[in-house]
């Protein structure tokens, strides 16, 4: 499988603050990768480095090019949706489609119009008159209607209601994703996307804490629910990386513990990505 994104010791500093601290990773094609971290973890900085919007130290290659030097070339095959409304507010919806048609050879107007017909967005209205949800829908329409190999979503559901959040991810999966393409989704609402991810990256304070496939994550971590009165004795034996109380019982999150060896102590389950994230961030966020 070809490598789409390759970073080696990428560092970005703002004065004394290290927004990215020696980040190295490789992301192959055909993956849906969740970039998860708390606010200020460095998610947006990492994405902006990947899209050539920032200077950084170290080396990076995205789709075979150095993003900072060849951003225009990179953007021919990359789509980006930001966490805020970025479409030019003075443009009308129809003008935006005309503009995209002229400026991006991979833009499929018919596809965008078909998508927009499923919404209530009027073609003749200026973008500034649309609601936040409509603006995101419009941006999604033009992005998904553009033929690209990499789609970067930076907190795309920020400020949107629950119905539209679900719709956004199903649109991305149905209308965009296939095994030749890669999706990189930045979010701090992991429970929203964990069911669609193939890989997950945990980032905090500019450092990559964990980068693994969801499959391996399930194999590595396990969750044990036990009666509260057994907690003290088992804690010493199992060394959980985190624990919490639930309805009078104790829940342990365990790292690299054979599931078979836990049978008999209590209920063994595969933890959610959110639980693992909270556990790992517990002492660091």
């Amino acid at each position: 499988m070809s490598t789409l994104i390759e970073l080696n010791n990428v560092t970005k500093t703002y004065g004394d603050l290290r927004a990215l601290d020696s980040v190295s990773l490789e992301i192959p094609a055909g993956r849906i990768v969740g970039l998860v971290g708390p606010n200020g973890a460095g998610k947006t900085t990492l994405l902006r480095a990947l899209t050539g919007e920032l200077d950084y130290e170290g080396s990076a290659k995205v789709l075979g090019v150095e993003p900072r030097e060849k951003r225009a070339e990179l953007m021919q095959n990359t789509g980006v949706i930001h966490d805020i409304a970025v479409l030019p507010s003075w443009m009308k919806v129809k003008e935006l489609l005309n503009f995209m048609e002229g400026i991006h050879s991979g833009f499929n107007r018919e596809k965008a119009e078909t998508f927009l017909k499923t919404t209530t967005i009027p073609m003749g209205k200026k973008i500034k008159t649309l609601s936040k949800g409509m603006k995101t829908q419009l941006h999604l329409a033009v992005t998904l209607a553009t033929e690209t190999k990499l789609l970067i979503l930076d907190e795309p559901t920020h400020g949107l209601d629950i119905l539209f959040r679900k719709q956004l991810y199903s649109s991305v999966l149905e209308d965009y994703f296939d095994e030749e393409k890669t999706l990189l989704i930045s979010t701090h609402q992991i429970e929203e996307v964990e069911h669609i991810l193939s890989d997950v990256i945990f980032i905090n304070k500019g450092k990559i804490l964990l980068y693994t496939s969801i499959e391996d994550l399930g194999k590595r971590y396990s969750q044990l629910t036990i009666p509260a009165d057994q907690a003290d004795s088992l804690r010493e034996k199992l060394q959980p990386i985190s624990e919490y109380s639930l309805l009078g019982r104790k829940v342990f999150l365990l790292d690299n513990t054979e599931t078979k060896s836990l049978v008999g102590y209590g209920d063994v389950q595969t933890p959610s990505v959110a639980d693992i994230f909270v556990a790992l961030m517990g002492g660091q966020a």
């Binding site: 902006r48 899209t51 050539g52 919007e53 920032l54 200077d55 951003r71 225009a72 070339e73 953007m75 021919q76 990359t78 789509g79 980006v80 930001h82 805020i84 409304a85 970025v86 479409l87 030019p88 507010s89 003075w90 443009m91 003008e95 503009f99 002229g102 400026i103 991006h104 050879s105």
Partner: protein
């Protein structure tokens, strides 16, 4: 090339209301001029009908001779008599001489339009980058397969083409309205002024004017780029900071160091395009009567060291603009 054309078209879409609004304002002013002429014409013809003739005394018709022009009504016909020593013989020479101040007048009207458009262009250049930072659309443009040079180049080109194109278009409209005003005035003014206007080369006037606008575009490069640079960095009020900042700095400099050096530098590199306006004005004041031409050779302005200096300053400012623009500094 296509992305650049699309980005230029984007500039047109964004600014078309300002451009069309400017055309409407100037057209309205032209109509006001036409209305004033029509009223003046009515008064003139009423006087002519009442008095039977209008005598314009002591008109200088060449360097030596002073003559009278007597306009008389003969039934419905209007007759013009030129009285004075050798006046009749010098009539062509007199018309030729009269064409010089008329051409000056036309040129000054066009320069007035240029100053108006120039004023609007200051808003354009200071907002060119600032606006896309303010509404975050800079992130959208950076997600497209276009380079920073494409984006910046389209904005600079759109601004300069806009200043030249709009001024030139409005200048032609102005000349047409002047011609219309003469027709509205009616006889005998129409015949008299037409005879004077025949002495003016419109092609020469417009070609020189166009060349001058090219020169002005080159010389206003540093100002345009400086305003764009300010708009790339500041958090608000780019025009106020872009214009007020250097003036405040120059005033401070002159008070602290008792020297107008900074004013001179600012004047040389940021207001060089005014040179032709100032020169033309001097020509208009001093030159009438001593045979000077209303439009100096614009190529002399274009091919000189100061213009080269302006180009070099533009190059440096463009590099600074590109460098700061790359850093993608949001307003919020």
């Amino acid at each position: 090339m296509k992305p650049l054309m699309m980005l230029l078209k984007r500039e047109w879409l964004e600014w078309q209301r300002v451009i069309i609004g400017t055309i409407l304002v100037i057209t309205f002013l032209n109509f006001l001029m036409l209305l004033s002429v029509a009223r003046g014409s009515s008064y003139f013809h009423e006087t002519l009908q009442r008095e039977g003739h209008i005598n314009l005394e002591d008109i200088k018709i060449d360097d030596e001779n002073i003559g009278n022009i007597d306009i008389r009504m003969d039934g419905n016909n209007v007759e013009i008599y030129v009285e004075g020593e050798n006046a009749a013989g010098d009539i062509n020479h007199a018309l030729e001489k009269a064409s010089t101040p008329v051409a000056f007048g036309l040129r000054l009207g066009m320069q007035g339009i240029f100053i108006f458009v120039l004023f609007l262009s200051l808003f354009y250049f200071s907002d060119a980058i600032y606006k896309e930072r303010a509404d975050a659309s800079t992130l959208f443009y950076r997600s497209l397969p276009v380079s920073d040079h494409h984006i910046l180049g389209s904005k600079i080109a759109a601004g300069l083409i806009g200043v030249i194109g709009l001024t030139f278009f409005l200048s032609i409209e102005y000349l047409l309205f002047v011609r219309l005003a003469i027709t509205v005035w009616g006889e005998p003014v129409n015949t008299m002024i037409a005879a004077v206007f025949k002495q003016i080369s419109y092609v020469g006037l417009m070609w020189d004017w166009f060349s001058y606008l090219i020169y002005a575009a080159i010389r206003m490069g540093p100002l345009a780029l400086f305003l764009m640079l300010v708009g790339t960095y500041v958090k608000g009020r780019p025009l106020l900071i872009g214009i007020g900042g250097p003036i405040l700095a120059a005033i401070s400099w002159s008070i602290i160091f008792q020297s107008a050096a900074l004013f001179k530098v600012i004047g040389k590199f940021f207001w060089g395009f005014n040179l032709v306006i100032i020169d033309s004005w001097k020509n208009a004041i001093d030159g009438i009567g001593d045979g000077s031409i209303p439009y100096a050779n614009p190529w002399d302005y274009i091919f000189n060291l100061e213009t080269l200096g302006a180009l070099m300053a533009s190059g440096l400012l463009y590099y600074a603009l590109w460098f700061v623009y790359r850093k993608n500094i949001p307003t919020g």
